[in-house]
């Protein structure tokens, strides 16, 4: 469906309607929907919609194998997954917010704030569980403030979360005294170093968050209502949903993901710092959109977002393996992003 990748591009709704590629009402809809089992169908739907992205990933892998000997090693693939884990967790939250019709620019700095708060000397003195609790609480509280201002204060999400980005940054600097706070707790530090069956704990954590997110989004009333509220808030309201409370809850979900990510980055870098998570907001939103979620809400898949994250991480990994300069990296990265979206849009148009 072209509208998934093209969203608000003006002219396009019209062009789409006139031109090719719009899946019509009596179209393959029925065929596509008559999958195997309902569960399998839902999951495949997530991938199926994103066949283009899978192709892009495959393409990147081919380039990787061709240009770098070490690309296809287990160690390197695990490196990619580990690099993806933190922004991936944040992207799960961002997917909820965007499907629900909002946007969250504060994710990166909310994570930084949570990482700082969880690694102050005082917090660390209480041990790892309190640190984890602290990170989650700070993330959730930040998300709650966002959510309340947006849902009940009726301020546009862009402004609220931008303000939160700025304030959280300031607060993190204030609390940390602008220093990187070292993680002394061995349990937290161990998260990044421990491997189970050869796979880093961080990757399991990432997988767990994605799994929980997927179930909540696709198998619970909460998830279902998220689609409804993002797709048509007025209809959702008139159907008796508490749109405001739900909207607020979405930002709490995003904040919680930031809390989880905060623990992960504290462990990975062995520090809590106000410099963590810079520009994560754009990365997360870009991954969600590339993954096929409509920026205007109501439509999207979590699998797509995660594939989007993997595309970005793989690009970076390829660059590092080939030891490219940052400037060349950047020039190429922009081009690859556009190419990836074009490939994906084409793939979508091809499959009804």
């Amino acid at each position: 469906m072209s509208e998934q990748t093209t969203g608000r591009a003006p002219a396009e709704s019209a062009a789409g309607a006139a031109g090719a590629g719009v899946t019509g009402p009596r179209a393959g809809g029925a065929a596509r929907d008559a999958g195997p089992s309902p569960w399998g169908r839902l999951f495949l739907g997530g991938v199926g919609h994103n066949l283009g992205l899978v192709a892009v990933l495959a393409l990147l892998a081919v380039v990787g194998v061709a240009t770098a000997d070490t690309f296809a090693t287990t160690a390197n693939l695990l490196t990619i997954l580990t690099s993806a884990s933190i922004i991936g967790v944040i992207t799960v939250g961002a997917t909820f917010v965007i499907i629900g019709g909002g946007i969250d620019l504060s994710v990166g700095k909310l994570m930084a704030l949570a990482s700082v708060w969880a690694t102050t000397v005082a917090t660390q003195s209480f041990g790892p569980w309190v640190m984890v609790f602290c990170a989650l609480a700070v993330g959730a509280a930040g998300g709650l403030v966002n959510g309340l201002l947006i849902a009940y204060g009726r301020i546009v999400p862009f402004i609220v979360t931008l303000a939160m980005l700025i304030s959280a940054q300031g607060l993190a600097e204030r609390i940390s005294g602008r220093r990187s706070q070292i993680v002394t707790d061995p349990a937290i530090a161990a998260i990044a170093t421990t491997r189970v069956l050869g796979i880093p704990l961080l990757v399991y954590l990432f997988a767990a968050v994605v799994a929980v997110g997927w179930v909540v989004l696709n198998r619970t009333t909460f998830g279902r209502r998220t689609f409804a509220i993002g797709g048509n808030p007025e209809a959702a309201r008139l159907a008796g949903l508490d749109v405001r409370r739900h909207t607020a809850a979405l930002y709490v979900v995003s904040g919680l993901c930031c809390g989880v990510a905060a623990i992960m980055i504290a462990s990975l870098t062995t520090t809590g710092s106000s410099t963590h998570g810079t520009l994560y907001e754009l990365d997360a939103i870009a991954a969600v959109i590339i993954g096929g979620t409509l920026l205007s809400g109501g439509r999207g898949t979590l699998i797509g977002s995660i594939l989007g994250v993997l595309v970005f991480t793989t690009i970076t990994n390829l660059f590092v393996l080939n030891n490219l300069d940052t400037d060349v990296q950047n020039i190429a990265k922009g081009a690859i992003i556009v190419a990836a979206v074009l490939v994906q849009a084409r793939a979508r148009r091809a499959t009804p």
Partner: protein, 323 residues
């Protein structure tokens, strides 16, 4: 101007003394530094490469610079996997790369920690870097002397720092305040910019409004100093004395020309990268420093911050880096 092709290494390569110039066993030196659009960082990377080029026995393996901690970790990891003979690392953030320094050290790879220091001495073999506190002291001392000589009582002294988040900025400010206090002076308006010309201009333009009269101004960084100087010119101000920081060629030329408020700069020379590569070679080859009696390279070297004025600028011009 910067538009001239950058002088190789700003001429900042060590003249090898003693027998250290003699080729030793072939070694591979890995190098990683941040990517910043900043003359100083650019000079660091160039100096390291040029210094390595002087040694026939050194293979130089630089990973691409990055601003992203995770990327730097990944990049250095590849160097460790390649089992280079020594590593020269200028981390984006010392604390955040400490674990990695430990990892390399544990793997038997000596680490030369450049400038931004790791949290644990176990993470590096030798640290070499500038003296941020000393830089502040030098600037404060110069300003103190000048104002005292002029007999200014109760002077208004401004400070435009770099990125406040960095420990190096905090150290510089502390040194500056400490030095001034020994003259009985204190810092008046102080604002942080961001090491960019744009940030320098913005902060300076506003700060000049906050202080209708200034006696002296210390700007931490000559790169952002371009913007600071522009703002001063645009405001038509000139009643005060300005001191720069780091020692860019551009700033030195301005000092030499003596037609702006910039009368001095205190160095924080990127030549340290050349020295770091030289040290890495010696460590990897198990040699000491030629002029020292010790058989080993010392574990830490702090470079002195010099004050460059019109009088001695010619001596330093070859070390100046292009913005």
């Amino acid at each position: 101007t910067s538009n001239a092709a950058p002088a190789p290494g700003g001429g900042a390569t060590a003249a090898a003394g003693g027998d250290n110039a003699e080729p030793g066993k072939p070694v591979t030196i890995g190098f990683s530094c941040p990517a910043a659009d900043h003359g100083w960082i650019a000079a660091i990377a160039a100096n390291a490469r040029n210094q390595a080029g002087l040694y026939p026995d050194v293979t130089f393996e630089a990973v691409n610079p990055t601003t992203d901690i995770a990327q730097q970790i990944a990049a250095v990891d590849t160097l460790i996997t390649k089992e280079v003979s020594a590593l020269v690392i200028l981390p984006n953030d010392g604390s955040q790369l400490t674990a990695l320094g430990r990892k390399a050290t544990d793997a038997g790879i000596p680490v030369i920690n450049l400038d931004r220091v790791f949290d644990s001495p176990l993470a590096y073999r030798t640290w070499i870097g500038g003296d941020n506190y000393g830089m502040g002291v030098a600037a404060g001392t110069h300003i103190g002397e000048q104002l005292k000589a002029k007999g200014v009582g109760n002077p208004v002294i401004g400070e435009i720092a770099g990125i406040d988040n960095l420990p190096l900025t905090q150290a510089r400010s502390k040194g500056f305040a400490d030095a001034l206090s020994s003259y009985g002076y204190s810092v008046g308006p102080r604002q942080a910019a961001d090491f960019t010309a744009q940030g320098g201009q913005r902060v300076a333009a506003n700060l000049l409004q906050a202080a209708p009269r200034l006696d002296a101004l210390w700007n931490h960084d000559d790169d952002q100093g371009i913007g600071v100087l522009a703002a001063i010119q645009q405001a038509g101000r000139g009643e005060f004395l300005m001191v720069g920081g780091a020692g860019s060629a551009n700033a030195m030329r301005a000092i030499k020309a003596d037609n702006t408020v910039l009368k001095a700069t205190v160095t924080y020379s990127p030549s340290m990268a050349s020295s770091a590569v030289a040290l890495a070679r010696l460590v990897a080859q198990n040699r000491g420093m030629g002029d020292l009696v010790e058989k080993e390279v010392p574990t830490s070297l702090t470079l002195a911050s010099a004050t460059i004025t019109k009088d001695n600028v010619d001596t330093y011009l070859p070390l100046g880096f292009e913005s």
